[in-house]
């Protein structure tokens, strides 16, 4: 995690963190934390898949576009959808209403895309985790 990200954490002294993830003043807006079958039964027939959308705070995207993108991937397969945002996006409630089972990870504005990815990975239960930008030109952001 970058030093800037750590500096952003400093204000939240009341959290009494115990792990690296807890250090972060994130909040999850998931409908519910689903139980991971991997830890329940130890083995599965097929791999569990997670899809992480990373949305850095320096760009905005329309609710319609983001919802379409999430739904397109969510409907393809049985995947856990996670939206990791730096700062709270506009119309978050509306997105969550339209995309069922979407887990939202909110990090402070200014968190780098790499830190967002790392934070989201800690929440991803999948065996195969795909990381994408919420924007169409992900290379410009991720690089």
């Amino acid at each position: 995690m970058s030093s800037e990200a750590h500096e952003n954490l400093a204000y939240n002294a009341s959290m009494q963190p115990t792990t690296a993830f807890d250090l972060y003043p994130y909040s999850t807006h998931g409908v519910h934390q689903r139980e991971n079958p991997a830890t329940r039964s130890g083995a599965r027939r097929t791999p569990r898949k997670s899809l992480i959308f990373v949305m850095p705070g320096d760009r905005s995207v329309s609710e319609e576009f983001l919802t379409r993108r999430l739904l397109a991937h969510g409907e393809q397969d049985q995947v856990d959808l996670i939206l990791a945002c730096a700062g709270e996006p506009r119309d978050l409630d509306s997105i969550q209403r339209r995309v069922h089972d979407l887990q939202v990870l909110l990090a402070p504005a200014g968190t780098s895309p790499e830190d967002l990815r790392e934070l989201a990975m800690e929440r991803a239960p999948g065996d195969i985790v795909t990381l994408m930008s919420a924007f169409p030109l992900d290379s410009a952001i991720d690089d």
């Binding site: 991997a38 083995a43 599965r44 027939r45 097929t46 791999p47 569990r48 992480i52 790499e114 830190d115 990815r117 790392e118 989201a120 990975m121 800690e122 999948g126 065996d127 195969i128 985790v129 795909t130 990381l131 994408m132 992900d138 290379s139 991720d142 690089d143």
Partner: protein, 360 residues
Amino acid sequence: MAQSVTLSVIVTACDSVSTLASALRAIRTSSLPRDAYELIVVDDASSDASVFIASRYADTVVKLTGERCGPAYARNRGAELARGQLIAFIDSDVVVRKDTLSTMVATLADRPDLNAISASHDETPGSTNFVSLYWNLLLRFGEERHGAHCAQFASGCGMIRREAFLSSGMFDEWRFATGCLESAELGVRLRHTGNGLLLSRDLKVSYLTRWNMSKVCREVWRRSRILARSLGYVRMSSAVPSEVVFTLTRSLSPVLALLATLTLAAAFFPAPSVLLKTGLVFGGLLLTNVPLMRFYAETRGLGFAIAVAPLHSLAQAVSMIALCTGWVLRGILGDPSPDATTQAYAELGLEMWPPVRRRR
């Protein structure tokens, strides 16, 4: 990420926290356009933070859990997800140069006769301690001397056409549960099925692993033992002469002949000087290693070449003993195979995740 990519880069990691970030950063900063490739990291049940480092750079992270099954298994799992027509395998301790991947792609595009291309070790490894320099240059020597004629597919940094990889049966995850010679074996198989391979001496990559004496001895022991037990020394020596075990043991035959002559001579001389005999054997050993020592002297100086001689003799001795052990084990136990449970699961064809190691 574009829907169709030319290349899938697969990096396998296993407790690679010290080198993985550098390896992935080098791939991401390569001159290849970002939308031309996908980056897949397969984590082989690491107990450190490799998965989180991978998530900072990769497009897809595959988390294998439970028992570690080795890089051959992990690479195969990555290849199953790959969408590119070309697949590049890069180890988690390898730093590619800016133009390595683009040159490999261009070479395979220009030469339809080639199905796989590999990069070789450069002269300056990431760790510059004495043993790392010795080991890195030892590998480099084999690649420079025999690279042009060998069927080596270097999985440290190698690119292969997807069709050729799949049709050859992928890596042999059944026999190679640890990272050792599985890429050499794949290279031989590719060559036998008519695929063209190139181990390029001009394409160089840097290896970051820090070696010490015990690590070198263990690596030499493993490679030599597996070579003798599973692959066959003679068959591999003609197919993959650049393999480090052959660099170590090729010169041992004349030394053993000298030793035998001295032993025989001792029968006729009642009081032979032990010092003289030892000196003769070591002298013979050095003479048979002249090309290698010259290479060390040219690359790092005469002092380095002299200092390396005892370490090299030790590695040669370890390799020789390991080869003999491998031959004996092959005679008694045969080719190694996975444990009984894995074999039983494989026999049943049980569908599960992570999948049971597959017999080729």
